[in-house]
């Protein structure tokens, strides 16, 4: 089949096997390799992208189900013409990355959590990011970064 989707604001039409995963289409066809190929079982969250205002694990999302969808990957989180948004800058200032492998998925999941109006407290943010595993940082700095943006965006 041929799917027409919007990726980071750009219309994309691709012939696909509908049972292919969104992750493989993003990385191998569109060369958007910020979205990481992690566990492939939906556990680690490194492949998180936003599909129509909901975060999903793209390793389990078949493309046959998302014809017409609006997709945002880490490459499009900041918005057109910007290097980083406030959340990405907060990850930098809080030192919320070590090896960096989980970071794109973490930022995408956190961005959707913020857009959904997560309560600005550590417990709610931890619960919201439970599907994103980081094996380096111990999470504290990640939570601090997201919390700082949750508070800043309320002002």
């Amino acid at each position: 089949m041929r799917i027409s989707i919007t990726v980071n604001g750009d219309p994309v039409a691709q012939p696909v096997d509908p049972s292919d995963t969104l992750l493989s289409v993003l990385r191998e066809r569109l060369h958007l390799i910020g979205t990481k190929w992690g566990c492939l079982t939906g556990d680690c969250g490194a492949c998180t992208v936003i599909v129509d205002d909901r975060s999903v694990v793209s390793c389990l999302q078949t493309v046959g189900q998302i014809d017409g969808a609006d997709i945002t990957t880490i490459e499009g989180i900041a918005g057109r013409g910007r290097m980083m948004n406030d959340l990405q800058e907060a990850f930098v200032t809080h030192g919320a990355a070590q090896c960096g492998f989980c970071t794109p998925g973490m930022v995408v999941a956190a961005e959707q959590l913020l857009r959904d109006g997560v309560e600005p407290n550590g417990a709610a943010i931890r619960e919201g990011l439970a599907g994103n595993l980081c094996r380096c940082t111990g999470y504290s700095k990640i939570i601090d970064a997201v919390l700082s943006v949750a508070l800043a965006r309320m002002e």
């Binding site: 089949m1 096997d17 509908p18 049972s19 995963t21 492939l40 079982t41 939906g42 556990d43 969250g45 998180t48 909901r54 975060s55 999903v56 694990v57 390793c59 389990l60 999302q61 078949t62 046959g64 189900q65 999941a109 959707q112 959590l113 619960e127 919201g128 990011l129 439970a130 599907g131 994103n132």
Partner: protein, 311 residues
Amino acid sequence: MTSYYRPGSASEAVAILAANPGAMVIAGGTDLVIDRRLGRADPRAPLVDVTGINELRGVRWDGDELHLGATATISAIESDPAVIVRTSALAEAARVLGSVQIRNMATLGGNLCTASPAAEMVPPLMVHDAVAAIRGPAGERRQAVADVVTGPRTTILASGEILTNVRLRAPALSGSCYLRQTVRWAMDLAGVGVAAWVLTDGTGREAAVQEARVALGAVAPTAVLVPGLESLLAGAPPTTERLGAVSAAASAACEPISDTRGTAEHRRHVAGVLAARALSIAHARAAGLWSGGLAPVNGRASAVTSSGERA
């Protein structure tokens, strides 16, 4: 290339399944996509994607009847304001299933039809006496959810049949609760999952139990209803003594295995503890005594007194 069908109606889906023996139904895909990649399911089997079927979608209330479409997502159930208040056990199970991302994809029908012994949504559906609608070549039939799952990964659905919806009633003076024990507080399967439902004869501390059901998940090949609760509970409030008897009945109803999530003995014990706790909260909700919101996600619910107050 895999044959992939995206029917627009349940009857079209049934016709496609009849014409393609071995075809598999895909909804959220959170189990099936993994199983196909790992070869636990045939990766060449045709897929019938039911997420494009309007009549299978959504969470809807009609008076005190709750209508859950087979492809209603877990996050849609978790966030429905009336589900939270009137069928709290469903909301409490939904919000501990997987992660935000998984809940945005996974469906009620998938959770039921995948038939994991630890399926989060099954004990709450059982205590709410939910009825599943199943569509096949011969038309529609209804089955109590308690009878749908027949063993690990097996259901009564015949090949060619699909689940279309699950319905249940939430009458006035009823309340429910779901609690679970896990090793990790998130992204883990239940070691023990317990749902309780109570119908009372009034409000307040002295409200007597009219009907009660407790279902246990992850402690037997399928979720099980605890037998004999009516005689233990009916006609009186759930006193500490009566809750003790509920604990014993719940522990006795378990046939647990030992694995990484707990030993059989530990599961049996925890099932009893959580059964009394969940029943106490369900009674408090039914009797209008509960103001504590949903139970904590980590299963370590704060101690609850027999009158339903947080200790």
